[in-house]
Amino acid sequence: MSSEFVTDLTIFVLSLLVGFEVISKVPTTLHTPLMSAANSIHGIVLAGTILIAATASDLVGYVIAFVACVFAAMNVVGGYVVTDRMLEMFKPPAARKVRQAAANGSAEVTR
């Protein structure tokens, strides 16, 4: 067993402990956005799919790498955008009113 593996294992266990502690008392309304935020973070697998693509050398390898990159990029980009949209709902009332007014205004114009 290499020292590199032991280092990786240390990082893994400590990250688990941080993960357990980082979520405290979350209001119920934030449960879904928080789930979505955590979902975007595991989009980091895109780093992994980019690295494996470099070692691909045959058709099967390229196809696997391509599909993996599509999946991972979808996870990361879609994840952050959808989380942001959920959180837009938590804006202070004043800011939301302005936005709504603007949206209504533009809707009327297009009509």
């Binding site: 449960h31 879904t32 973070i41 980019i50 790498a65 990159c69 999946f71 979808m74 990361v76 879609g78």
Partner: protein, 283 residues
């Protein structure tokens, strides 16, 4: 360690820090949006650093670069458009769909790596590899079913068919045996293929008996699974940032799942057994 390696490792460390701080800020509605932005910044930095690693190593052929560029562009565009267009009420099912994609990607990383072994790499690689394929494939099919239930493609009520429990047990046994075989370095590609198929089927039989009302909790649990699968992928390819971020999501996702179940006055075990006492059970 060369200066180059040190810089990359430090960028990865900064990204991991931003993930943790970002997730922490999501505990309160006032700071949540800033938290998500910090997390996205960390992600961008980590991905850019990875691209720099690839350029510096010179290992990637032109075809490989095209594959990465095309795959990432397609995935990013599809994800962006879906996330912008989705109705507010349909967001959980979209999150589940993205989660399926993440789990699938994690499993593919391990399968790809397995195909490129010239000699047996030892149990410290093979155990995470088997777990990555197992967890990744279960999440992939399970999250698709969960998303389908919320979308209405798959009936929302618990689906229990005769012999379902037996099939689940058989699949679990097959997964256990093939996981041990892969870890021991026997069975070759066949073991990996059988494990993938059994895990895909298991994901389906796991989520089908659960009622639609419990889906958010199940999606959160599958989300924690994907985190763990990504951490395992990190062990397989020897990448720190995958291990850190994956373990972070695995653990925080598990806590969040418990909070969500508590908010519904249900236990996770109760929900996963499925089909009992849910408001939308058949009949």
């Amino acid at each position: 360690m060369s200066t180059f390696d040190t810089v990359i490792r430090l960028v990865y460390l900064a990204a991991a820090t931003l993930f943790v701080v970002g997730l922490h800020l999501m505990n309160s509605p006032v700071t949540a949006r800033r938290g998500n932005l910090l997390s996205a910044t960390g992600m961008t930095a980590a991905i850019l650093a990875t691209i720099v690693v690839l350029i510096e190593s010179g290992a990637a052929s032109l075809t490989a670069w095209l594959v990465v560029a095309a795959g990432t562009a397609v995935g990013a565009a599809v994800g962006f458009v879906m996330a912008r267009r989705v109705r507010m009420t349909a967001m959980p099912e979209l999150v589940s769909l993205f989660n399926a994609a993440g789990g699938g990607a994690a499993a593919l990383v391990a399968i790809h790596d397995f195909l490129h072994f010239t000699e047996s790499p030892g149990a410290h690689i093979l155990i995470p590899l088997a777990l990555d394929v197992l967890i990744g494939a279960v999440t992939f099919s399970g999250s698709l079913i969960a998303s389908g239930k919320l979308h209405g493609v798959v009936p929302g009520q618990p689906i229990v068919f005769p012999g379902a429990r037996v099939i689940t047990l058989v699949l679990a046994a097959v997964m256990l045996v093939t996981t041990v075989m892969i870890a021991a370095g026997v069975g070759g590609l066949a073991a990996v293929v059988i494990l993938s198929l059994a895990a895909l089927a298991f994901g389906v039989t796991m989520v089908l008996p659960i009622g639609g009302a419990d889906m958010p909790v199940v999606i959160s649990l599958l989300n924690a699974f994907t985190g763990t699968a990504v951490a395992m992928a990190g062990f397989v390819i020897g990448n720190d940032v995958l291990i850190t971020a994956g373990a972070l999501v695995g653990a925080s996702g598990a806590i969040l799942t418990k909070l969500m179940a508590d908010a519904m006055n249900r236990s996770i075990g109760n929900i996963m057994l499925g089909g009992f006492g849910t408001g939308d059970s058949p009949g």
